[in-house]
């Protein structure tokens, strides 16, 4: 706890400079503190609005960690796509199929499907343009987490 306080003391009120902030940096006013977890694997997962096809698609890859843009160029086969029929919605079959394609461990299959269904529901009911989870983490104690 002391360590967290010391780290927070240093960060709050200081300037954060990243590619996104530009050279001026941004003042840190708030900190998000989260419990950690031991990571087994990282997965890329996104629900996107595919305007050309006029439907929501899932874009996913078992090879997380890397930026998805690089992966699209170097290993296009590693990216899985699922198109969702707006009339039918995301089917259990599609969700399970994707979970298997991502090689998600058997203990996590049920949770994975439940999560995909939840994300689809969130996407539709919130009228979202995109939900991107990067990385989706499979922890060493096997229950899927963000």
């Amino acid at each position: 706890m002391k360590k967290v306080e010391d780290a927070a003391e240093k960060l709050l009120g200081s300037k954060l400079v990243t590619i996104q902030t530009g050279s001026q940096g941004k003042l840190i006013e708030k900190l998000y503190i989260e419990s950690g977890c031991d990571i087994e694997r990282e997965i890329y997962l996104a629900f996107v609005m595919d305007r050309a096809k006029q439907r929501i698609s899932i874009v996913a890859s078992a090879e997380g960690g890397m930026t998805i843009e690089e992966l699209a160029v170097e290993k296009p086969d590693a990216i899985k796509k699922v198109e969702i029929d707006p009339v039918v919605g995301l089917t259990g079959f599609q969700a399970r199929d994707l979970v298997f394609a991502l090689d998600i461990p058997s203990e996590c299959i049920k949770d994975g499907v439940k999560m995909l269904m939840g994300l689809y529901k969130a996407m539709v009911s919130l009228d979202a343009n995109m939900i991107e989870i990067n990385p989706l983490v499979i922890p060493q104690i096997k229950n899927c987490t963000l």
Partner: protein
């Protein structure tokens, strides 16, 4: 990106998406 990561996590946790527990701190005394 329209919302911050912690806000997205709050929303998604209501939709059966597992999220690590966490919270926002405004000063070091109130973590």
């Amino acid at each position: 990106m329209d919302i911050h990561e912690y806000q997205a996590k709050e929303i998604l946790s209501k939709y059966n998406v597992p999220v690590l527990p966490g919270s926002v701190a405004l000063n070091p005394q109130r973590l």
